[in-house]
């Protein structure tokens, strides 16, 4: 749920990285967080992680970003990941509360294609729990791990992934590597921009 404060002229939106276990959601967030810390000392938001000893996300990772102004409103993004492991269904569902935009991080490894599809179905079910559907929010696909050497680990092609996950929806998608940073910022920039446009249009916010 976006929050619009007309007194301090700010808009806060919630973006969630969703996808199967080990698809690279936390790696995406860590990459963004580290780059922002390197380049902008004014951003002082801390990254919060609730994970297990095995470094798997148990509840979520989170950090806020100030994105400057749009239509005279200060824009604040809240980035979250969800736990990918099947057993963390309850916490995954809780993180989706109030979500405005989703980055679906799909694993490009051929062996993980079924897990991608299951996770996407699970996303729809969990949105329904909050009385939402995909059409209420903005969604972008990220085909992650494109940096993997195909001679070592078989990958699904981008076309195959588009066909399996995205043929029905036609969402914008980015081949990416959260490990090397390829298209990580492109993905987040795109979803931020689209979600803000959506929230502004939805609430009829005029320039001020």
């Amino acid at each position: 749920m976006a929050t619009i404060n007309l007194k301090d002229k700010s808009i806060r939106i919630k973006l969630v990285y969703y996808g199967p276990g080990r698809s690279g959601k936390t790696t995406n967030l860590e990459y963004i967080y580290n780059k922002i810390q390197e380049n902008d000392e004014k951003q002082k938001g801390k990254m919060v992680s609730i994970d297990t000893n095995g470094d798997r996300t148990m509840f979520f990772d989170f950090f806020p970003i100030d994105l400057g102004k749009i239509n005279g409103f200060a824009l604040k993004l809240q980035l979250y990941t969800t736990p990918g492991q099947v057993k963390y269904e309850f916490t995954r569902r809780l993180v989706l509360k109030g979500v405005d935009g989703i980055v679906f991080v799909a694993d490009s490894m051929a062996s993980r294609q079924e897990a991608n599809a299951q996770s996407f179905e699970n996303l729809k079910e969990n949105l329904a729990f909050h009385n939402k559907t995909l059409s209420d929010i903005k969604v972008v696909f990220q085909w992650n791990k494109r940096d993997i050497d195909e001679n070592l680990i078989p990958l699904a092609s981008v076309e195959e992934m588009e066909k399996t996950l995205n043929s029905k929806y036609g969402y914008t998608s980015f081949p990416a590597s959260a490990e090397t940073g390829l298209n990580v910022f492109k993905t987040v920039n795109y979803i931020a921009k689209e979600t803000v446009k959506h929230v502004i249009a939805l609430n009829d916010i005029k320039k001020g």
């Binding site: 976006a2 929050t3 619009i4 404060n5 609730i50 806020p64």
Partner: protein, 130 residues
Amino acid sequence: MSLIINKESADKVEKILERFVEESGATYVLLTDMGGGMLFESGADVVSYNGDALAVLSAANYAATNEIAKLIDEESFSLLFHRGNNENIHFTKVSPDVLMIVLFKPFLSLGLLRLKIGKIQDEIASLLGK
């Protein structure tokens, strides 16, 4: 659906929170939506707390505790409170969408604090519920 806070309501809520901190002796008070988006904060130590992280973790804690309640066939727990050595923390659901977090010193009476929270709870809910 977005939560839109107009200037008049924001002014009123800020005043209520300031007065609450002054009268109750609480260290710090924070309002967040249930998704973890911080709405307002007030108190002497505003600068020293990371309000964003506190809001996010409190909303998550509240949501997780509610799930625990359901697992044991309780609708919800009426008292959500952690006792620390230097600071206690108390959580109140003021409306379906808004959670209030109060930090207060261990020498303050929890009962009295809860009374004061009860007094402002409805007022805040009606200001932010519109």
